[in-house]
């Protein structure tokens, strides 16, 4: 019979009755080393199992109990400061005047979307971004519309309001612009401004005007500076329709007629005529028509250099 089984008492003593417990003296160096290695391995198994079980336990607990939210933000306080920046002329005071949030307002009570909508309702503001900067700051960033022309529109009370026309045609009252800057912007004339529920309808065909004025301002600033009125009296916005012309009234050239197409060439010819006139010491030209193709029609006053033209004689 094999294996360690109890021996029937009727059978005499067998080698299996010999106790298999060796004394310390029976343990050699090799055996001791092996034993220690065995204990180390078993300890390693035990520790690994504890680590795995512990990991499983905490993993299951985490999944079952749900994710704990971790609050990365500093504790919220009342709004104390509004940080404002703009790519235009609007000031911090203007924003504060418009937005008007009480200091005691808690940060989470500040309706940043309402602020955005409020600011974007002003024609001078093209785009607004608003952020909460915890614990106590609000940050507002504004992109403004660039003014292209000025416009004197009839006011509701019978007078006139002076508004600005942006490069995208939006008509808006300008805030925080300096007079010097505004003086350089010509007026828009020859258009009927249509009033809407919130202000005025955008000016059509402003894109072609923008093309002319931006180019002139960039490449012929001395000539551009003399322009006072851009009249769309004979211009509906179509580039290629017969008879469509843009009339500009200025100080040095009383009337400049542009065709709606080919501004670069026209301005070049205008510059030559102006230069020619200056060389001849003719300070004021009556009319320069650039709309007849490559030719330029120039009219001078019978009496050269008639002097300064009073402001109110300039057509609107």
């Amino acid at each position: 019979m094999k294996g360690k089984k109890n021996i029937d008492r009727a059978v005499a003593r067998s080698w299996r009755n010999i106790s298999q417990i060796a004394g310390r003296k029976a343990v050699t160096k090799i055996a001791r080393k092996r034993k220690i290695l065995g204990y180390c391995k078993i300890s390693a198994i035990g520790l690994t199992m504890v680590a795995v079980m512990g990991g499983l336990f905490f993993g299951v607990r985490l999944v079952v109990s749900g994710y704990d939210s971790i609050n990365l933000a500093a504790p919220s306080e009342n709004l104390r400061r509004i940080l404002f920046r703009s790519d235009g002329v609007l000031s911090h005071e203007w924003v504060q005047e418009i937005v008007r949030i009480p200091i005691t307002t808690e940060m989470m009570d500040v309706d940043i979307f309402a602020i955005k909508d409020l600011l974007e309702s002003h024609g001078q503001v093209r785009k607004v971004e608003v952020w909460r900067r915890f614990p106590d700051q609000l940050e507002i960033s504004i992109e403004e519309r660039e003014p292209l022309l000025r416009a004197r529109v009839p006011a509701l009370d019978g007078g006139f309001d002076e508004l600005l026309v942006a490069v995208d045609g939006t008509i808006y009252p300008g805030f925080d612009y300096s007079r010097v800057d505004l003086r350089e912007i010509p007026y828009l004339g020859g258009i009927t401004f249509r009033r809407e529920a919130k202000g005025f309808a955008p000016v059509p065909s402003v894109e072609i005007l923008r093309e002319l004025l931006v180019f002139a301002r960039k490449h012929y600033p001395e000539i551009y500076r003399t322009w006072k009125v851009v009249s769309c009296e004979n211009f509906s916005g179509a580039r290629n329709r017969l008879g469509e012309v843009i009339k500009i009234e200025g100080t040095d050239v009383r009337e400049i007629i542009f065709s709606p197409d080919g501004f670069e060439g026209q301005l070049e010819r205008l510059a030559r005529v102006v230069e020619y006139s200056e060389q001849r010491r003719i300070s004021v030209v009556k009319r320069i028509d650039l709309s007849v193709g490559e030719q330029v029609s120039v009219q001078y006053y019978a009496k050269l250099n008639p002097g300064a033209i009073p402001r109110d004689t300039l057509s609107r």
Partner: protein
């Protein structure tokens, strides 16, 4: 999932300790996965005479085997040899208890207990109880269960040994942190390797001539009939040469291995061999005939003692398959002829079975260790070893193959 142990077969011999590590492969294959050897110190004639020295060399062999196998031995099958091992035949005779004289399990168990109950002298312990035949009403039967008869006789060959010497062997293994799963005497281990079933059926004597002892096992009718140990081995030949030729044991061993043979030829008379072979001071020529005579004398003595011990059990008709020689000393040229003439039965050299694929294990020196391993692995396969002895941590460690 079947749980198979990695077992180690340990033979603590007089010349070397051999440890083989094996495991079962599937249902039928045996895989030797590791081997370790160490020169034995502290063992004479198969018995431990220096416990510390024997522990050192045995543990070194065990460690080498574990490293070679890349696995930890979980149980040891240990061989036992030595002159202290004795055997005797005992029968258990019981009347069949059933009124219809049909033999039942209880009758068999009673007969077995009867056969095994003989007390031994103080200081002796049983190693094996080898069942070697049943008789029912005087006639030999293979299995008496459910047969009809009045007197049941169960025969056993009992092997017993000195308790202290057996304990020494066991404690050498325990010192390494292992337990001895089972113990088998060397002759049975070698016999299980050398003899085929048909040879055991016809009758065969397997003789393992080692360095310190000669172990033998006699088979007939498929069962072990007798075992024994003769305290003569290769070491005695070496001692004889050393004393007879007045040379050192090292030279004697060298002569034995290089020149030794068990049979004298007429042409050997005039040949001589130089002691050192390099004209050193003290150099002398030694007649080869002298060497052969000494060896032959000892070998003939060995077989003479063997024949005397076996007596009438050794005859051509009772041992039809002849004698199989194994063990390191069986490499002596001519030993087969001496055995045949000395025992009066046809003798031959044994070969380890073909499933031993490793070339280095096919020599006769490893038949005992291989037999141990084979025996141990078959025990595992038959499920005789109780499962679940390992604790949970050890089982996990086994799965992770790190303990």
């Amino acid at each position: 999932m079947t749980y198979n142990k990695v077992i180690g077969a340990v033979e603590i011999g007089t010349s070397k300790v051999v440890v083989l590590v094996g495991e079962l492969v599937g249902d039928k294959g045996l895989n030797i996965i590791g081997q370790g050897e160490a020169t034995t110190v502290g063992v004479k004639k198969g018995e431990i005479v220096d416990f510390r020295a024997a522990s050192d060399c045995t543990h070194a062999a065990l460690q080498a085997a574990e490293r070679n196998a890349g696995a930890t031995i979980e149980a040891v099958y240990l061989s036992q040899t030595g002159g202290h091992l004795k055997g005797f035949y005992n029968r258990g005779v019981v009347p069949v208890s059933a009124p219809d004289n049909i033999v039942n399990e209880i009758d068999i168990q009673r007969a077995v207990n009867e056969a095994k109950c003989k007390k031994l002298p103080t200081g002796r312990v049983y190693i094996h109880h080898i069942h070697n035949g049943d008789h029912l009403d005087g006639r030999a039967v293979t299995n008496p269960y459910m047969m009809q008869g009045e007197k049941l006789e169960v025969g056993y060959w009992h092997v017993h040994g000195d308790e202290h010497k057996v304990r020494d062997h066991i404690h050498v293994i325990n010192g390494f942190g292992l337990e001895v799963e089972d113990m088998i005497i060397s002759s049975i281990a070698s016999g299980s390797m050398m003899a085929r079933e048909v040879e055991k059926e016809n009758g065969v004597l397997v003789v393992d001539i080692g360095r310190g002892t000669t172990d033998y096992v006699l088979y007939r009718a498929g069962r072990i009939l007798r075992t024994g140990v003769i305290c003569i081995g290769g070491d005695h030949i070496t001692n004889d040469l050393s004393l007879g030729l007045r040379i050192t044991p090292q030279h004697a061993e060298e002569f034995k291995k290089k020149l030794g043979k068990a049979r004298i030829d007429p042409t050997d008379k005039n040949e001589k061999v130089w002691l050192f072979g390099d004209l050193t001071i003290g150099e002398r020529a030694i007649p080869k005939l002298a060497i052969y005579k000494i060896i032959t004398a000892r070998i003939e003595e060995l077989f003479g003692i063997l024949k005397q011990e076996l007596g009438g059990a050794l005859s051509r008709d009772r041992v039809a398959a002849g004698v199989i020689l194994t063990g390191g000393t069986s490499r002596l040229p001519g030993i087969v002829d001496v055995a045949s003439s000395g025992l009066g039965v046809e003798a031959r050299l044994g070969n380890n079975p073909k499933w031993v694929l490793r070339e280095d294990l096919r020599g006769p020196e490893y038949s005992c260790a291989l037999g141990l391993l084979y025996y141990g692995l078959n025990s595992q396969r038959s499920g005789d070893v109780a499962e679940g002895k390992k604790g949970f941590v050890q089982k996990v460690a086994k799965l992770l193959s790190i303990a």
